[in-house]
Symmetry: C2
Subunit: 210 residues, 2 copies
Amino acid sequence: MSDLDLSLYLVTDPGLSRGRSYEFMVEEAVKGGVTVVQLREKNLSSRKFYELAKSLMSLLKPMNIPLIINDRLDIALAVDADGLHIGQSDLPYHIARKLLGKDTIIGLSVETIEQAREANRLDVDYIGLSPVFSTNTKRDINRPLGLSGVKEIASFTKHKTVGIGGINNANAKSVIASGAHGVAVVSAIVSHDNPRKAASELKTIIDSAK
Amino acid sequence: MSDLDLSLYLVTDPGLSRGRSYEFMVEEAVKGGVTVVQLREKNLSSRKFYELAKSLMSLLKPMNIPLIINDRLDIALAVDADGLHIGQSDLPYHIARKLLGKDTIIGLSVETIEQAREANRLDVDYIGLSPVFSTNTKRDINRPLGLSGVKEIASFTKHKTVGIGGINNANAKSVIASGAHGVAVVSAIVSHDNPRKAASELKTIIDSAK
């Protein structure tokens, strides 16, 4: 997917969405300017995860926005999702690529400079730089890469990059300026009173920083 | 898999295995007479689940014992497992069959007579009757089917059947006598001081009841 636009990458989180539905959050966020959506779900049964993913595919396909499933390759296959995002403790990349084929987007989280170097040996479609800043959204992660880490990785990676972790209106510009192709956010959109407006403001900042 | 032998079906459970490894439990149980193994895992990362499944495949393949993965179709695909077991809250059967193809074993848990009737419309390879008796191993399940439920389902199902839930040395014979092709156990083997001996005793009871 050479035309993959990582500019503003939404990662879902029902726990931070203040009771609003996935479909509402995703639709509002896309209308505001989100360019790609990742469905990240760790608590649903496989059946409910599948049904939710199918529902989001129906919503996003006509809007021409790719849906990327976090971790669960079976769900990605079951709904013919646009992509799969894997972390360092998910299925190995070569297995995911073998099972999904060459036309499916596969993104890989890297949490260190070393992992970013290793990713240069893989034909992933993008790497997620995680976390850029410290964050309360996801606690099981390494020391932040910081803007210096983003810059260093941007200097040698052959992949598109998206920064994630603690990114908001106040620092999104600096992440893009450090060389990331896009920023991924969770709470900056899903916890906002007005997710469409939050997305729109972020998108304006990102576009003007490019 | 018309030659699938459901006689003594082991379902893994690390929480009940008293610190002994999956590989130890499975090897001992198969040496004692287990005819099929299901890897059921709800807490591991996808990477660790994959590595464990791969390890069990290496162990079981030379012993000619099928490995069936519970719920996670991606893990089943990743290790080319013999089969997948799905419950009523896992991926829909028709999706699983489409993704796995006709040569992979697919088992389906049924918790009511009605679900067993519905399963007659599916080309599953077996149905799990769950639970036969009340059990402490798995709490998120329906009222026990009882031996009368096993008998009723056996009278109309077109599928092979395996009873699960609260089955042990004392009642295994009655489950087979009620028409089940096999019995599935968790704690009766994995919590036993000597899992090989536990499996061997169960196998003798099952074989003599047939």
